[in-house]
Each structure stands twice: as C-alpha cells, then as structure tokens.
Symmetry: C2
C-alpha cells in the first residue's frame, strides 16, 4: 500500500490521495513523501476491514475501509476509489454506497489485456459469478462502451467467450446469449462478431471486447497471469486492476495479491476513468438517464 | 493429418496406424512413408465426417470417420483412437461406440499442462459443458487416478478451480462441490486441498490436479495457449491433446486447429495411455467393476 501510493504520486503530478485505513499505514506514506508533496495526501483513519476470507456481505458493515472509501466518493470528497481488498466486498460496498445505474442489476469488472493485435477488454472478471444470458448481454453493452470511452477504440468488435466459434458451441447460457446478442444494438457503433475462444483475449484478432461471466473471466485472467509467470513474461503487462462498471462513480478493484506497482496502476486507472468521465459517459451511452 | 501420421511413425518404432478417412489422404501418408514402413499403416476408407460447425449429434451417424475409428477400438482392431474433429462429436461417438464406465454419467477430457513446479492435470477441458457439483466431484476422482496412472504422480494433490482460495469463493456449483469434496475419498492416495485459482494450472504449487467443468477448463486452456502465443513461448509445450476418461477404451481428442506436431503428440498420448492400461487401471481405481 505504502509503495503503491508513493509510486502513484510520483507518476502523476496532478494526483492527490485520500488514504483510508489505519493511521500507522497512512503515517508511513506521509513519512516517505518529500515534504513538498505532503499536502497532496490526506488521511481518513478507519480501522475495520473486510478480510479475504470474509463473505462479501462483510461490506455491509459501514465501519470498514472499503465502505469509507466509497463514502468519500459519494460525498464528492474524492473522484474515485481504489481497493485491493476482496472484490466481492468492494462490489457490495460500491452498490450500497453509490447505487447502480438504472437497468444494470449486476455490475461488472472490466480489465484491459495486452494482446497481439492491440488491447482487448475482458469482462466480467469477478463481480457476478453466475452465467446468465441477460447479464452476458448487458456485459456486451458495458464492454463496448468501455472500449470506446476508456480505450478510444473506434466501433469496437465484441465477441462472446465460448468453447468454439461456430454458433451453438458452449453451455446453455452462451447458446441463449449468442442469438440474442446478434439481434441487439450495441453502443458506440460496436458490432457483435459472435463466439470467440479463450485465446482471443491474448490475440485480439477478431474482437476488441471479450464478454463472459465473472467466474469464467476471473479464471481466464488468472490463467493468463499464470502463463506469464511460467514463461517469465514481463509481469507489469499483466493487468492487475479492473474498473467496476454499473455504479454511480469511479471504483477500481486491484488484484488481492497486488504489489506496489499493481496498486499504482490501479490508482492511475481510477484517475484515467475520472478524466474520461467514464462512469457518466458509459451510462449515457447505454441510454440510461443518469442519476 | 499426413504430417502428423508421419511424425508419429517416425517417433515411435513400435507404432502401427490405422488411417480412417478418405482414401486420398491415406494414400498421401502411404506414399510419403519409406517402403520399409508401409506395412505399419493400414487404411479404413470412410468418406463421411462431422464438421466443426455440425452439432455433436452428427456423431450419431455411423458413416463418419469418428464413428468408424471408435468402432475399430470396440472391435479390438486398434488399441486406441485419436481425433482432431469437434470434441463434442468425438465424445458422443465414444460413448455410443464404447459405452461409459458404470457410475460415470459424463466423461471428461483430461490434459497435462507444463507448470513451474511440475506437470498439472487439468480436467474437464471440454467434454461436458454445464457445471454440476456431482460432475465436479467425479472429475476430481478421475483426475486423481489419471495423475497417478498416466503421469506417475504419487498421492496427487487435487484442487477445485474457483476465483479465490478461501472456502465460499465461487459460483453455486463450486460452493456446493467444495465441502462435498472435502469429505470424499479420492483414489491413489490423493488428497483434496481445496479451492485453487486459474494461475495454479501454470504453477502447480499447491495442486497436481486442477478440477473444473468443461466450459471453464476449455476457456482456461485456450487462454493459456493465447498467452504462449503472445509471449512467443515454445508452442510445443502447450498441450493440444486430451484423454477422454469414462469410456471403455482409449480415446484422445486433439485440438481442432492441430498441426502435424500436435496430432503426433495426440497419437503418442494414445499409445502411452494404452501401454499404461489407463482406461482399465483408472476405472478399477474408481472402484468400478470393469465391464
């Protein structure tokens, strides 16, 4: 946390941080900052936290760091929140503290993967774990808008993750979502290109957006991460931060095993999302009347 | 196909092949073989095939290559069958032509991945696409026996693939299967170590066997394959052949995009499974009275 905060301040001179958590940790950050930068960091001391082994419902307690961070977003004290706690708890805290966009029952976590032919947006990577055709269709719209607004992709190509590219491949949820998506209009001039396989997330040949449920997406993301480790690839190119889409505000979830560099990239992502007005732009593109 | 058959014969002097398919293709293989090796290859001409875009039920037609290959196993003409056709059709053909082991409703495809700490068995990678707790528990037993019999792993450690390692992480099927597996006896002295994440398939730190449903396993395998491509890893270390477990006989499924080297490794896997009497040994370990 300390390392991540320092790296983030160093990388972005316009960044200001509100540290939400135990005073000792915040004190470490302040102590390590050059005197001239200390007024860029303020502290909201909170001692309660949701642990990795706690249920996501732990975030229903208001005396936790994640709830306090989300409250700071809701109050307008900060422009976005970043958490490396359990993603389920962060999603719960964000829904309770910020509220969902109308029409979005289940928020999704979107991440951008480096791929052979250019970046690929993968979602959901862990917010909602059951595969439902309606959620998959909503994720397609969220991902298309995200690719356009956040990654500047023109007319994103959207694929539905399955286990073959021919129509009819996959489980029940995919077989129901595929023909539905073929007839659905997507935002940002995006077009649905059909089913894609797991390697598409690393190739980007046919799709700029790979759509799936949060269980499969999380497994895929971590499998790719494992392959990077096995092959000794550059660890910094594995994304360890994801944007939460579907709530009124900017929320970023970092990998639970996040190192300083990962946390700094999560903070940078939150700043980028805010500067692009991503939450407002994406919800508007979805045809949702904002708040 | 031609390249794969030639490579396989070259790599294993004891191998003999029955080519099941169009006479022209078989003729190419025979023509390319040194004269001294030609009696190692025989031909069963079949012109019908199940295409990639056909439903798995296409394998219900008996006039297809995959049915004819499985029939040759059932007749005892060959010791195993290898197919690079659609895996769903191969599974259907194997079930119809060879019959399932008692107690195995849904066969599983098992593959062995190279990992940091040693090989990891991943299953199911595409035979059965819906995640059911009972199928996951059966896959755990199949994978444990496979690791012991085929990969010589002593007391395999078995993990259930999920999106966190703490109990309670995952979707409904995982949350139901995890406590069940904790109380289930596994063959070959294997022990269940709980939930693992996607990177475990490439690390092998906590588990020798990673258990999942065929949808998630297929996505994970192909995602790892994509990461290899992105990072320029040695393509030959990505497994592109999987053993079908749960039917009376040796059947190997190769990747639909299999190149000659992949097909040759699939043929080598089938020979290895036969030499280990894998189908009989594994079904016996499962406590099944072999038909």
């Amino acid at each position: 946390m300390v390392d991540g905060a320092l790296r983030a301040c160093d990388a972005d001179p316009d960044l200001r941080l509100l540290l939400v958590g135990p005073s000792e940790v915040a004190g470490e950050v302040l102590g390590a900052l050059p005197a001239v930068d200390r007024d860029r960091v303020t502290v909201r001391p909170v001692s309660g936290a949701v642990g990795m082994a706690d249920a996501a419902s732990g975030a229903k307690r208001v005396d936790t760091t994640v709830r306090a961070a989300v409250a700071a977003v809701a109050e307008g004290v900060v422009d976005g929140a970043v958490s490396a706690g359990p993603s389920g708890a962060t999603v719960t805290a964000a829904v309770l503290g910020l509220g969902r966009w109308p029409g979005v029952r289940r928020p999704a976590l979107a991440t951008t993967l480096p791929a052979v032919e250019g970046p690929v947006v993968l979602l959901d990577v862990g917010a909602s774990v059951e595969a439902r055709p309606g959620t998959l269709a909503r994720n397609a719209a969220l991902g298309a808008a995200y690719a356009a607004v956040v990654n500047n992709v023109d007319k994103p190509r959207v694929g539905l993750l399955s286990i073959g590219t021919e129509p009819g491949k996959g489980d029940r949820a995919r077989r129901a979502a595929d023909p539905f998506l073929a007839g659905q209009q997507l935002p940002s001039g995006a077009r649905y290109i059909g089913l894609v396989e797991g390697y598409e997330a690393c190739l980007g040949e046919r799709a700029d957006v790979v759509v799936t449920d949060g269980f499969t997406g999380n497994v895929l993301l971590k499998g790719i991460e494992g392959a990077y480790t096995l092959l000794g690839g550059p660890a910094q190119t594995v994304p360890r931060a994801a944007a939460l889409l579907g709530v009124h505000g900017t929320v970023v979830v970092c990998h639970g095993a996040a190192a300083g560099a990962d946390l700094a990239s999560g903070i940078a992502l939150a700043a980028h999302l805010h500067r692009r007005s991503a939450a407002i732009e994406i919800s508007t593109l979805l045809g949702v009347i904002h708040g």
